[in-house]
């Protein structure tokens, strides 16, 4: 895991000092709210329905036990005993007091954490594969590159007053686990013509009211040019992106308006102009970072099996089936801790649970944890021999729900319960769906099925890329829900299609059930919901939903 050196620490400490000063000037009335707002947003501080919310950066989703313990401490001391993992691998705390925000940042800085550029019109915290360094299917470890990008994008002087926010995702596998193509820039590590590993670059993805899948801009970028090329993309957008209408300001709109071809031409032209003065990163720096992501000291010669006596326990066996994934090192496994228990709030985690996960990571997973864009937590390197003990400890804390990628593993935004922009509640809808399909055998029978719910058109809950998406709208002052089908946020990215007239809260749960029942009638052996939908099309489902 990356460790700060003196320079990194000094920069984060200076940021705490700066924000303390800005907050002081705001409270003293020297800064207007209008002037303060972009400053606090660049530091992850949102004003919400009930209080402030602070979003803490978890760069590319990586955390240590010590950091998780600090998050638990912050939840307990400054919030209400819980935190919330977001769809971009970050952690949010509600109920924050403005005057305490500088103290929270100071505490975070002691464990090499910050809230820099977690909101506002700046380059956001980069996201990456939560299985990085453990997955068998990655072509190279994306994390050194992600850290390089983190540093270079931190306080970038040219790109801190963009038309709108800007999000980068990086993957290194054919299996996209970060919803890369829904980002402003999607980078994928790929082999080039001469076998060297560089980047495939897509630009202009996004959710919101006009969703787009990112478009291919460069099939192969030699690695040494990574930063200058990103800079060229950002400069074209910074200069020509729309600033007259907040809803048309994202880079996806520029790419769409110009067309991918013309956009690419402009980027390439800008890049050629910038190349002579934009120095490449020093290879020694990439090497210095890469060393810190060396594999942990795995034991060799471990049995690559799980104790059959333990696996005879059906509850443990279920968890093995859904929450444990193949690791590249024989004798080890990757574990996903589901934050989607029945009746819970997806992504929420209590201070006690954070501390327990910190202990378990230290004991069983080389002190590493990851947050996922599906709002779960991963222990990336667990000895197979330890799985049963780990499961028992998780189970005792309500953290062993066996439902990863199943119908109850729902992504959901805060909705009307917390969010001032919401049209409808979203958390209760997720809870009702999870409750409707609570029966394990029913969930298992349905297989991979990704439901995503947003409480308004801003699409924080990714409904556009749900296999089944739900969007809360306002219909003449009452909460109403539209149903969408056929989206995907993975490597086969696609936007979901609205089925037709909306429903009330119970109505949409019924409509989801009718959709799923139709799938069961239509599917072939082993076929996922999404594949059935793609094979048979929209009509059979529409008929089932509306009769």
């Amino acid at each position: 895991m990356y460790k700060y050196d003196r320079f990194d620490q000094e920069i984060v400490d200076a940021r705490v000092d700066e924000f303390r000063d800005q907050t002081r000037r705001r409270i003293a009335g020297e800064l207007s709210e209008d002037q303060f707002k972009p400053l606090r947003l660049k530091n992850g501080l949102y004003l919400q329905l009930h209080a402030y919310m602070l979003r803490v950066a978890v760069p590319y989703g990586m955390m240590s036990g010590r950091q998780l313990r600090m998050l638990g401490h912050i939840a307990r001391t400054y919030s209400r005993d819980y935190g919330h993992f977001t769809t971009r691998q970050n952690m949010q705390f509600h109920w924050i007091k403005l005057e305490q925000a500088p103290d929270i940042l100071a505490e975070l800085a002691t464990v090499e954490m910050h809230a820099i550029q977690t909101s506002g019109e700046s380059i956001r915290n980069i996201s990456s594969d939560h299985f990085a360094g453990a997955a068998a299917d990655e072509i190279a470890d994306p994390r050194p590159w992600a850290e390089l990008i983190r540093q270079w994008t931190t306080f970038h002087p040219e790109f801190s007053y963009f038309p709108r926010k800007f999000k980068i995702a990086l993957t290194a596998s054919d299996n996209d686990r970060v919803a890369a193509l829904s980002h402003d820039i999607a980078l994928k590590l790929v082999p080039g013509p001469d076998g060297e590993i560089g980047f495939c670059v897509h630009v202009g993805g996004g959710m919101g009211r006009t969703p787009f899948i990112a478009k291919l801009v460069r099939p192969y970028l030699p690695p040494q040019h990574l930063l200058s090329y990103i800079a060229a993309i950002m400069r074209v957008w910074n200069r020509y992106g729309r600033r007259d209408n907040i809803h048309k300001a994202r880079i996806k709109i520029l790419v769409h308006d110009l067309g991918a071809e013309e956009f690419t031409r402009q980027v390439e032209e800008e890049w050629q102009l910038m190349l002579p003065t934009e120095p490449p990163f020093p290879q020694a720096e990439l090497d210095r970072i890469a060393v810190q992501f060396a594999p942990p000291p795995f034991e060799t010669g471990l049995a690559d099996t799980i104790d059959p006596a333990a696996a005879a326990d059906p509850a443990f066996a279920r968890w093995l089936t859904h929450n444990v994934h193949a690791h590249r090192q024989p004798g080890y496994a990757i574990v996903t801790v589901s934050l989607k228990p029945p009746g819970g709030i997806p992504g929420d985690i209590t201070a006690d649970q954070l501390e327990l996960l910190a202990d378990l990571a230290e004991r069983y997973a080389f002190d590493e944890l990851r947050s996922t864009h599906a709002q779960n937590v991963v222990l990336p390197h667990v000895r197979k021999a330890d799985l049963h003990a780990l499961w028992q400890a998780l189970d005792a804390a309500g953290l062993a729900t066996a439902n990863v990628d199943l119908v109850s593993d729902i992504i959901v935004c805060p909705g009307l319960d917390y969010c001032s922009l919401a049209n409808a509640r979203s958390i209760p809808v997720a809870q009702k769906i999870a409750d409707r399909f609570a029966d394990y055998d029913r969930q298992k029978d349905l297989g991979e099925l990704k439901i995503k719910i947003s409480g308004c058109i801003n699409a924080c809950g990714h409904h556009h890329v749900g296999h089944i998406g739900i969007l809360g709208v306002d219909r003449k002052g009452t909460e109403n829900y539209q149903l969408l089908l056929g989206g995907s946020g993975a490597e086969d990215a696609a936007l979901a299609k609205i089925t037709g007239p909306g429903f009330d809260e119970d109505g949409v749960v019924d409509a989801v059930e009718r959709t799923i029942e139709r799938y069961r009638q239509l599917r072939t052996e082993g076929e996922r919901f999404l594949d059935t939908y793609r094979r048979v099309g929209f009509e059979p489902f529409k008929e089932a939903i509306y009769g």
């Binding site: 000037r25 020297e30 002087p157 040219e158 790109f159 007053y161 002579p276």
Partner: protein
């Protein structure tokens, strides 16, 4: 002009800045005002006679001027580069880093806060138009 803040040793330029169109038409103009949406690259052929470029910031959140500044410095412009308009103390450091060396803020700035803001960060992560050495170079000598 009372609020003018300069980080240059030469005397302030006296001639008033003209619009980009006027500058490109009048072959003797030496100072130009660039609006946020205007293309800084149009000035590149004229650096020889250019002593002052004033880049307008209509709203502090409009970040186009940062790219204008970078483009001019990348192309070798060494004259005065002035940020004018909604220029606030919390943006000053990034403006300096992008190559601005003079500021004409609409509202006066508190000079103590200016000093603290410009000196707060001991290190930077990127090469830009200023002389700061990025930590990547400091780390590797």
């Amino acid at each position: 002009m009372d609020n003018l803040l300069r980080f240059r040793d030469d005397e302030p330029h006296e001639e008033p800045a003209v619009t980009l169109d006027a500058f490109l038409e009048q072959s003797d103009a030496t100072a130009v005002r660039l609006e946020a949406g205007e293309d800084a690259r149009l000035l590149i052929p004229h650096f020889g006679r250019l002593a002052l470029v004033e880049v307008s910031f209509p709203r502090f959140r409009d970040g186009r001027g940062y790219s204008s500044a970078r483009i001019l410095r990348e192309a070798g412009y060494t004259g005065e580069l002035r940020a004018e308009g909604d220029v606030l103390v919390d943006q000053l450091l990034f403006m300096r880093r992008c190559g601005f060396d003079s500021f004409a803020p609409a509202q006066p700035l508190d000079l103590d806060v200016v000093k603290a803001s410009l000196e707060r960060y001991p290190n930077v992560y990127q090469t830009a138009a200023d002389r700061s050495v990025p930590v990547w170079n400091l780390r590797h000598g």
